[in-house]
């Protein structure tokens, strides 16, 4: 008998078999009971097979690409670490960027992995299910590689070891935590708009490009390589987010107002989340790539603007907050840095006043605002520090009920005034930082009345290290907050005079002299 070898399947066929062919319609239970999440948000889908898979990625191809990237990444990390790469960064202030990044980003990558795993279960189309599952694996990989690339610094510098403990407790990490908690507790389609579209597509460049280029500019090969290794995944994620938006809009005209509201909401929430990235670019990178304002213009105004033009044919309009973000790009990085500078006893990274030539750079990059509003106060802080009276605002902050940022933003049109908005729900006042956060609150107050605001929780006696009796007559809430946060005391305070500063100088000296 003749043996007839069957032809090897093509990529497209293998993909079709893996997705469509492995999916089936349930019979013991109706499909809408098995997949209840895809209908309750009000999004109408008539034909899941219309989902165009942006990347027809099969498991074997995925494994092959990712393992190649991993091998390269870890080879470079090893080389960097073995050659004391940490001493080749521009100056020790740079390491504080890594501390901020470590606390704020990898835990959110993990949340994204959780979110996309949920999407991989909740979506009832096989195409999106597979794509979401792949993205979940990517996000998990980013979470791990970011931590691995920074772990070598943890051997030498203070303040990095408790980032996982601090994620859900520290005041300044609450904005990012709230961002993902909000997204992950929404339905699957809102999650896709929030993370897949607004964050990955509209805003992610402003986080990753400055981080990767910033790392490269400042001699940090480890972080740079991690960034490059993640970038090709990001391209896939962006495409998935955009595909999901188009799919919803093409399926039913009733979906448009819902999708538009989510785009408005999540573009704003993302903008608030990225205020800290602005200060990283303008103040924390010893060698700067571009100003936050320039990055905003390039990545959000130009690229984001073009994207919304493309979506106009579906009836999508530019997010409501766009105008305000353009006004704020000249302010937020300065306002954020002042907010952190004044809390030297409450973050695991150091802050400092820019040197005179760095201030000149800021004047040049922010001709409309830096000299007029921010230089005088920074020079005042500098003089005070030199006189032994370094600013330390020991009070606890007021936060926005929605974005959980501290209430530090100005009234639109008036940089000298603070912006406050207020809503009353069931007789209780709720404060927000902007018209956009107020609108988000008013749309779904039931959700945001549960917000975890660190300073409030401290005052309720909920943020105490183990063993503290909150019912003792002499109990003072928050007295041991540093222990509750597990904050390394060596990591506190101004950069000037810090152990990091001294060690870095001494080690570099050893490396270059006898």
């Amino acid at each position: 008998m003749d043996m007839k070898a069957s032809k090897k399947l093509g990529l497209k066929e293998r993909y079709a078999l893996m997705t469509r062919d492995l999916a089936w319609n349930t019979t013991y239970q109706p499909m809408d009971k098995v997949f209840p999440q895809t209908t309750y948000e009000g999004i109408k889908i008539h034909d899941w097979d219309k989902w165009e898979d942006p990347f027809r990625l099969t498991m074997d191809a995925y494994w092959k690409y990712q393992s190649e990237k991993e091998r390269k990444l870890y080879a470079i990390l090893d080389g960097f670490n073995q050659n004391n790469g940490h001493l080749s960064v521009t100056d020790a202030r740079y390491i504080n960027v890594l501390k901020l990044f470590l606390g704020s980003t990898p835990p959110l990558e993990l949340m994204a992995a959780r979110g996309f795993s949920m999407m991989g279960r909740q979506m009832n189309g096989a195409g999106p299910r597979v794509a979401c599952q792949m993205q979940a694996v990517d996000e998990y990989r980013h979470f791990q590689t970011q931590i691995h690339s920074i772990s070598n610094y943890n051997k030498y510098y203070n303040g990095m070891d408790e980032f996982a403990h601090q994620q859900s407790r520290m005041w300044y990490l609450s904005d990012g935590k709230s961002f993902f908690d909000d997204a992950i507790t929404a339905g699957p389609f809102e999650f896709m708009v929030a993370i897949g579209f607004a964050f990955e597509y509209v805003l992610t460049n402003i986080l990753f490009v400055p981080f990767i280029s910033g790392a490269a500019y400042n001699g940090d090969m480890a972080a740079m390589t991690v960034g490059f290794s993640a970038q090709s995944d990001e391209a896939r994620h962006m495409t998935l987010g955009l595909e999901c938006i188009k799919f919803m809009l093409e399926q039913d005209p009733d979906n448009l107002p819902i999708v538009q509201r989510w785009i408005d909401k999540w573009t704003w929430r993302g903008t608030r989340k990225l205020a800290a990235v602005g200060m990283m670019m303008d103040y924390m990178l010893p060698k700067r790539i571009m100003s936050f304002k320039e990055a905003w213009e390039m990545y959000v105004e130009e690229n984001g603007g073009a994207l919304f033009k493309d979506l106009a044919r579906y009836g999508i309009t530019i997010p409501k907050c766009f105008g305000q973000t353009i006004e704020e790009k000249e302010h937020v990085s300065h306002q954020s840095w002042i907010g952190f500078y004044m809390k030297p006893g409450a973050t695991p990274f150091h802050t400092w006043i820019p040197t005179p030539d760095e201030m000149d750079w800021l004047s040049e990059k922010y001709p409309n605002t830096f000299d007029k509003y921010y230089r005088p106060v920074l020079e005042f802080f500098d003089a005070q520090e030199k006189a032994g009276n370094r600013f330390d605002n020991k009070t606890a902050p007021m936060n926005c009920q929605v974005c959980v940022s501290t209430m530090k933003f100005n009234e639109p049109g008036d940089p000298m005034e603070m912006c406050f908005r207020e809503s009353i729900y069931k007789g209780e006042k709720f404060h927000t930082c902007s018209d956009h956060c107020k609108e988000i609150f008013d749309n779904e107050p039931e959700k945001y009345i549960q917000t975890f605001i660190s300073s409030h929780q401290v005052l309720q006696g909920n943020c105490e290290p183990e063993g503290v009796d909150v019912n003792a007559p002499d109990f003072q809430p928050g007295k041991q907050i540093l222990d509750y946060w597990k904050l390394d005391k060596r990591a506190l305070g101004d950069f000037n005079g810090s152990e990091d500063q001294k060690n870095f100088a001494a080690w570099r000296e050893q490396a270059t002299k006898n």
Partner: protein
């Protein structure tokens, strides 16, 4: 009207309801046009606390600013939220009409921060 959509009944308490503060209430304080302090600060106080205790807390924080010693207290303008009011230092928060999560906005005309920048 709420736009919240859920799969199941969804009812949760406010995390900051006044009963969570064991007889105290939250109060926020902002010194307008002195943004050096970045954001208002929050206190938890009993409604029977005299308003002078709030002024003490203000002094503890705001006296770092060179404008603080130049304040003409007779000219200070106070708002509770967006409503103007004149606090009596010797009366309690409750007597001054200050409730849970109220925001005191304190203006000092003529003092506009370092070099008039609002900071």
């Amino acid at each position: 009207m709420t736009m919240l959509k859920t799969l199941a009944p969804y009812e949760f308490k406010s995390r900051d309801a006044v009963e969570n503060y064991k007889g105290r209430q939250l109060l926020y304080v902002n010194w307008e046009r002195h943004r050096m302090f970045s954001r208002p600060f929050v206190l938890a106080m009993k409604p029977e606390t005299p308003f002078s205790a709030v002024v003490d807390e203000m002094a503890a924080c705001f006296s770092y600013h060179p404008d603080w010693q130049h304040i003409d207290w007779d000219k200070a303008i106070w708002q509770n939220g967006n409503t103007p009011f004149t606090p009596d230092r010797n009366k309690t928060l409750a007597e001054n009409g200050i409730g849970h999560k109220d925001l005191i906005r304190f203006q000092t005309p003529g003092l506009d921060g370092i070099a008039g920048t609002g900071y």
